[in-house]
């Protein structure tokens, strides 16, 4: 390490130490904003993961009449319906789910909610054909052809609707987190800029002498910029650590309760780290440079 780098780095640390309260404030504010940013990025990952998984599994349910809404489907009609479905190009698989199958699935899904199960008769859930499509987006092809008045069909339901409701909800959460993260990040940037300005003001005597003995611009400014970048870096590392310590644990415990979808794990948390570091140091560098631009002009 040459003398000039020793100087620049030493000065940066002198500034951080001398201004300890501000340094702590900057680190906390960067931590909060980047934790939010990281959380919203991870939420996106989670949504993508769940969507990929579900897209392959969603089906179209064709509920069959059982005399409650419409006259019960006859065995001939049911056989005809199966043949028509299987002859469709967009259909890859057709299963039949009887009333008993539907009830079994329902009781399994709500195994821990006995009152709910007690309230439902085994007879009340309709039988259905569950159709898997080559391309889930082609739902309309099936809906147009097999909706009532197709004989014996009560209703055609695209299960993606259920997924879409979930996606809409997570999208709102994710966008809200991103907006809050962005506002926090701007606040952190302003705080950093102010801190650096205070630091530069506190050392104006020193920088004044530096200017007059002919220190170059970057030599005068770099300690201050490094001071900001270092605080930003620490904040980013802390937020990474926080996410690393919490997100995999939360995901694991959720995965135990909700078996419907896969959850993100440590790998995704590790992958988000570099982005947090980049955002933290980037914001800090930009804020510091802007803060110094007018203050330390030649």
């Amino acid at each position: 390490m040459t003398a000039r780098w020793t100087y620049v780095i030493r000065e940066a640390f002198v500034g951080l130490r001398r201004n300890l309260m501000m340094t702590v404030a900057v680190i906390l504010s960067v931590t909060v904003s980047l934790t939010l940013l990281g959380a919203s990025l991870l939420l996106s990952e989670q949504v993508d993961l769940a969507t990929d998984d579900w897209t392959g599994r969603v089906e179209v349910s064709i509920y069959l009449c059982d005399d409650r809404v419409c006259p019960a489907i006859t065995p001939e009609q049911q056989e005809q319906l199966r043949e028509d479905l299987e002859s469709q190009e967009v259909v890859s698989e057709v299963f039949y789910e009887s009333k008993q199958d539907a009830y079994d699935r329902f009781t399994a899904m709500f195994a821990d909610q006995e009152s709910l199960i007690d309230a439902i008769d085994a007879d009340i859930l309709p039988a259905s054909f569950r159709v898997r499509l080559e391309n889930p987006n082609l739902f309309n092809v099936i809906a147009d052809q097999f909706s009532p008045p197709y004989p014996g069909v009560e209703e055609v339901v695209d299960q993606r609707e259920v997924l879409n409701q979930f996606l809409r909800f997570t999208n709102v959460v994710r966008t809200a987190a991103l907006v809050v993260a962005a506002i926090q990040l701007v606040a952190a940037g302003v705080l950093i800029a102010n801190t650096i300005r205070v630091a530069a003001f506190a050392r104006r005597e020193q920088t004044g002498i530096m200017r007059l003995v002919g220190a170059s611009n970057w030599y005068i400014r770099l300690p201050f910029v490094l001071e900001g970048v270092f605080a930003g870096l620490i904040g980013a590392l802390v937020s990474w650590g926080l996410l690393w310590g919490t997100v995999p644990r939360v995901a694991t415990s959720l995965a135990q309760d909700i078996e419907l979808m896969p959850f993100i794990g440590e790998a995704q948390v590790i992958a988000v780290g570099p982005w947090l570091l980049l955002a933290g140091t980037g914001i800090a560098a930009v804020a510091s440079i802007l803060a110094l631009r007018r203050f330390l002009d030649i």
Binding site: T2, A3, R4, Y7, E205, Q206, G208, I209, M210, R211, L212, V213, G214, A215, S216, N217, Y219, I220, I298
Partner: protein
Amino acid sequence: MIKLQNVTKTYKRGADDEVVALDDVTVEVTKGEFVFVVGPSGSGKSTFMKLLTREQLPDGGEIWVAGKNLATLRSWKVPVLRREIGYVFQDFKLLENKTVYENVAFALEVIGRPRREIEKRVPEGLDLVGLSEKSRAHPHELSGGQQQRVSVARAFVNNPRILLCDEPTGNLDPSTSVGVMKLLDRINRTGATVVMATHDQHIVDSMRRRVIELEDGHVVRDQSRGVYGYGG
């Protein structure tokens, strides 16, 4: 070494109130000269000094310092100009949290000189101003005269071609001032050009060097081997 050609500098004070600090000033200082710039407060001395280090740019005219045209000098090259100029202030401007040695070394450190060179030059500089024994002291432990000598050592440690002194004896008593002037004289004899703005009549009269007198932004006198004022 220093040349001002028809230099004008005005300061804006409010919307249409202007103060003319320098008005059509033409001065030339050759290499190795020792020049006093005298005149009452507000005569333009400070502006004159600030223009030489390019802290400020003139509104009109040309300024040449150490072979550089300051009007066209790119801002990123200003540090290079300032390395040719040592600057001594009236209030010393030493850093209180640094020792005498560190204060002098600072001037070399921040222009990126290698450590070996710093370790050689700083003791030489302190020796030149006669403060080798005080190298570990902090500025507040020194007398005013000693502090000013430290600041001269800092200004000269980089071996600049020009030494600008802004009222260097303004905060010193007469006997201490004499010591500082002897030091500046010695530095001048090594070949450095010295320009000193001052109010100090005794010093100017005793040194018998070139005197440039400013008044209301004009050069009213430029005299080799001059005294502070006509008739005292």
